[in-house]
Subunit: 251 residues, 2 copies
């Protein structure tokens, strides 16, 4: 059955989307069947792979008004597919608040897909609201992208507390697959302090792969391509390739 | 009466908090009486000025369970004060959803302060949810921090649409004070493309001050100091000083 990974961090701009799309792309290059799900109304994951956000997508998936062949789109990478987000998803976070079992919509919706895919990667918005909770309940593991900055460090304890309460009350199988340092610049003292402090505290739950700050990673989405197609020789690509190896080893 | 400025952008990590605290600090240095309001449950604005997040703050402000002297804290900068956010604010976004006139809580709560301050600066979370809507309704102008990256550009039209619908339905006085380019790195082609495209479209609603990427800005919050106290000679400080001049000229 599929391994379901959710990318979560309420701090904004830490590399959730960039990590979901590029880890997904390298897992697909290794021959894994990978499904990306864009559960952020911003739709950045969808545009990272050039998906059509006018088609039915994540919103129609959770309210059952579309079939799987209607919501699943191909991407430019073999073995990599995507369920895009569209503007309807914005309304879902208000609609879901009042629904019964509101945290289980995504989990129920992806159950039929579990046998067909090797990996399902879920991108979330920068909040601990109902869309992210759905992602944490649907997944069996969470990757926490962590920008090597002070505010990102501050938010980590709130995030870990939320993950623990989801594990206790809503999803016993959820585990932290790892903390992923992103936009790391070895020349800055702050980045080295953050890496040292977090590694001491979280030990083996920190990925040994560290994603450097690399402008090619921020250019790729404007071409609708993951980094393995946009610039496979750059440092950012090498780092996500190494991460994909590490994730498959942790299976 | 106070000029009320809200810092809004649903894209995460674009410099909302960094801009609110540092613009506020330089307006205070010019002798303006400035009140910062942290309306983001992450509490990054509060920690940027070393505020005590165990005290009553923004949540107690909107539900009327605290007096002004209980919620207003001093900061290390003369003339600069803050109403901090605390963990209670996380619950507010769920509580407010079901309340009557849910977008007007902050506007009503700050009315008694209008005569005592020259500027009230409101920081919002990375979403277009109920907390940001309260900020847009309470303010008379909005500053849109815009990271010079592709995803930030994508989200701009959704944000401008939201501002226009708030102007039409909830707050006729709301205007866009300006778009502020942040984390600008003149060496990258992408940054120059974003600046060119946005300046062509928004013309005079773009600030001439551009905030460069400058590591000193990301170090300052770990010391609980705005940049005018942490490193007043760095490029980031000079850029926010220039922005403060531009904002006071637009009065
Ligand atoms: N390693 C990196 N080096 C340089 N730029 C990066 C890197 N990772 C991400 N970026 C850029 O930084 C910005 C933030 O990254 P991204 O959008 O992936 O973060 P996010 O956590 O998904 O944001 P949000 O909280 O808004 O969903 C984007 O413009 C992205 O292109
Ligand atoms: N001009 C700059 N140069 C370098 N780093 C910056 C700059 N502006 C902000 N930063 C850093 O980038 C990160 C994102 O900035 P900030 O937290 O202010 O954005 P935000 O929009 O408030 O984020 P969120 O969406 O999570 O509220 C922070 O770690 C901050 O210290
Ligand atoms: Mg994202
Ligand atoms: Mg912020």
């Amino acid at each position: 059955a599929a391994r379901k990974i959710v990318f979560a961090n309420q701090k904004g701009g830490v590399g959730k989307t960039t990590s979901a799309v590029n880890l997904g792309a390298y897992l697909a290059e290794y021959g894994k069947q990978v499904l990306l799900i864009d559960f952020d109304p911003q739709g950045n994951l969808s545009s990272s792979v050039g998906a059509d956000s006018m088609k039915r997508g994540a919103y129609e998936l959770i309210n059952g008004t579309a079939t799987s062949s209607e919501v699943i789109q191909k991407t430019p990478v073999n073995n990599l597919y995507v369920i895009a987000s569209n503007i309807n998803l914005t309304g879902a976070s208000i609609e879901l608040i009042e629904a019964e079992k509101r945290e289980f919509f995504l989990k129920r919706a992806i159950q039929p897909y579990e046998q067909t895919w090797d990996y399902i990667c879920i991108d979330c918005p920068p909040s601990l609201g109902i869309l992210t909770l759905n992602g944490l309940v649907a997944a069996d593991s969470v990757i926490i992208p962590l920008q090597c900055e002070y505010f990102a460090l501050e938010g980590l304890s709130m995030l870990v507390r939320t993950v623990k309460s989801v594990q206790r009350e809503l999803n016993k199988q959820l585990s932290i697959l790892g903390i992923l340092f992103t936009m790391y610049d070895s020349r800055t003292r702050l980045a080295n302090e953050v890496v040292r402090d977090v590694s001491e505290y979280f030990r083996d739950r920190v990925f040994s792969s560290v994603i450097p700050r690399n402008v090619r990673l921020s250019e790729a989405p404007s071409h609708g391509l993951p980094i393995n197609l946009y610039d496979p020789k750059c440092q950012g690509a090498a780092a996500y390739m190494k991460l994909a190896e590490e994730v498959t080893r942790r299976e």
